[in-house]
């Protein structure tokens, strides 16, 4: 099957909006094993949309349009597409009823302009929208082809794709596709890819591939089978194969978005509390821990000791004059200091040079991380400047990731 996406919206052509919808939908089609050869963007313009739809329906089996389903005069995707396809355009009573109820729930009366959102071809199937007033529409075409229209706002589009379009396509295809990600940290992408290379190359189903986000490298296993049970069995089998190739210490979880999610979970499971003392990361670690809802049960105290004075006064660091603020000694004392101050079980600290300039003779990207528990303090040294130009954002992001990772490892062993 060949799928094609047409995104409709002048805001895409002026660059005001980045086209994240196309990649979101493309990923889902990829996962379903559906090929995609074209993506097109046109503005809210009848002539150009007509031309794009004609071409797409001609060369592809599944056409997904995205955007232009609103209630205002410049939303013309539905009218234009139906006219182009030679379809009738009638009021759908069920959708009308739904829409009235949608407004009623908000104690509002439906404005007259919204009635246009209830029109569609009589052989079309509406896709409900829980986050807005524009329903999606599935239109059957000749030769077993289909055209699907979804609204442009991601929070309306995504639930329709995930909740209706993907399950429908999966059912139509007669097989299910399941994925699983082994989350790793500590090994670079190329080193990791090298370890799983033979498996990756030799295996068509499941597929095994690496995906990088900042320092985290996920090993994604995707299996296709006639039912969920068989797909799960394939995933289990290949997860075991991958685990034989990658040292266990680098794998921190399965299907987590990031290390902070996993860290907070481990701390909760073990009834442990964590505290942070940050210099070069400037609060990024505590921000990331508290991004996770429910973090309050494992995190009470973070100190951002950006100045030497505060490192000394609040955390009791007393070797700065001897080793400098960017040193493993300072990292260790910061972690110990905030451990005592907070009464937490684990404390993590960072001190380093995020750039842009060399500082105390320490290179941009040099970062020390400390992890302290009641009985033990460890320190880690990293060089995190990866390229040219301003490395500040990279260094800080990667330093906070590695700090969270080392704290996670300490938590696991506690």
């Amino acid at each position: 099957m060949i799928c094609e996406i047409i995104c409709v919206g002048t805001e895409l052509l002026t660059g005001k909006t980045i086209n994240t919808n196309a990649s979101y939908i493309a990923k889902k089609m990829m996962m379903l094993g559906i090929n995609m050869y074209h993506q097109t963007v046109v503005g809210d313009n009848t002539e150009r949309l007509t031309e794009a739809v004609k071409r797409a329906v001609d060369r592809s089996d599944l056409v997904i349009t995205c955007g232009g389903l609103g209630s205002t005069y410049d939303d013309m995707t539905k009218e234009t597409v139906c006219k182009t396809l030679g379809k009738d355009f009638v009021l759908n009573k069920d959708v009308e009823k739904e829409l009235h109820e949608y407004f009623k729930r908000q104690n509002r009366v439906m404005p007259e302009s919204n009635i246009k959102q209830t029109y569609m071809p009589s052989d079309a199937t509406p896709i409900p929208n829980e986050n807005g007033t524009a329903c999606g529409i599935i239109i059957p075409l000749e030769d077993n082809k289909q055209l699907i229209m979804v609204p442009g706002p991601p929070k309306e589009m995504k639930p329709m794709i995930d909740g209706t379009v993907v399950p429908m396509l999966m059912k139509k295809s007669g097989f299910v596709i399941l994925g699983r990600s082994l989350n790793t940290l500590g090994l670079g992408e190329s080193a990791l890819a090298e370890k799983i290379r033979d498996l990756s190359i030799s295996s068509q189903n499941p597929t095994v591939a690496t995906y990088v986000k900042d320092m985290q490298v996920d090993i994604r296993i995707t299996a296709k089978a006639e039912n969920e049970e068989k797909a799960t069995a394939l995933l289990d089998e290949y997860e075991e194969k991958v685990r034989k190739l990658v040292p266990q210490e680098y794998i921190f979880g399965v299907d987590y978005d990031n290390i902070e999610e996993r860290l907070v979970e481990v701390l909760k499971e073990k009834g442990l509390k964590i505290a942070s003392a940050e210099s070069c990361t400037g609060g990024f670690i505590s921000k990331r821990i508290t991004d996770i809802s429910g973090a309050s049960s494992v995190f009470e105290c973070g100190v951002c000791s950006y100045g030497c004075n505060i490192k000394e006064k609040l955390l009791g660091v007393d070797t700065i004059s001897e080793y400098g603020a960017v040193s493993k000694e300072t990292a260790a004392e910061m972690a110990q200091g905030v451990l005592a101050l907070s009464g937490a079980d684990i404390a993590v600290s960072t001190t380093g040079n995020a750039g842009p300039d060399v500082m105390e003779g320490k290179a941009v990207g040099l970062v020390y991380i400390g992890v302290a528990t009641k009985n033990k303090t460890e320190t880690f040294e990293y060089s995190l400047a990866l390229g040219r130009g301003n490395q500040r954002n990279n260094v800080r992001t990667n330093a906070s990731t590695l700090a969270l990772y080392n704290a996670y490892k300490a938590a696991v062993n506690l």
Copy 2:
């Protein structure tokens, strides 16, 4: 003039890469007053690229292709485009020399595969690439049309667009376009748009429009004139007009990316130091301040007092049992506490409910911000939950923005 973008890359069709290049280039064209009606994505495929190029050259005056200029066998944009346009394809001696020097600077010998990157039509103009081996190419076409090829990696593409393509198009057009953004906070976009509506509607040159990023609303003035002096005069004139319509208190700067950049600058100018005490924002404020390089001269201390215990012990808050942790009293005491602890001139604090659940009977999104100086403590109350679903990220982002904004206002008045 009508421009069209063709992005080439299988990674876009699989959704692995979000197409940020198209919006980057589109914005520049918009700024130059060049219309865009189509954007297309095709894979690294000769047949489909040929078809896309033919159609684009036919219907547009300026075609920009992006991607597929690498040295490997699957990079075929240049060969395909030149063949489609009926152009010859010869080695460019200057580019070859440049490329050898590029490798020499890195103490490497140029691999043979890179020689293909020196080929282009004999009437083409190369665009130098300081961040990679693929030069860009400008090809003149009949009817005063042009086709421009740039590489796909953003760090290579952007300098070519900004350094060569935009100046060339500006020169060709015979006018210059300059922009200026008045940065505002504290008024919503619709309220702000309402204030400048008549000016916005009546003015064609300069154009006046609003752009939102999180809570910050920029009023962007874009002027077109025959030279820089005249364009600047237009900007000055319209900046004055805008300032008459928008209360001065909401405008925090001109051409700043964000409020933390402006805050750090004001603190530096005035020789002031700031400290933070964060609860619901969990370190986001200190993270944002220290995002700015050079922040160490104005920021030494942040406390993330996520637990009540730490608020009391470290910051001396003593009214939690009476008013609850989410209260203006706690916000005030947190700010006063960290002011005393740090010895800073200004302290800013946050306490609130970021969600997902109601807490102490306080609604999701209720946030108190405190700003303390030696002689005065102010508190601010906000309701920051804006829609349905998990509001945690919104609430925390907006709370940190408003905290930085209120701290900025205090710094200005100090």
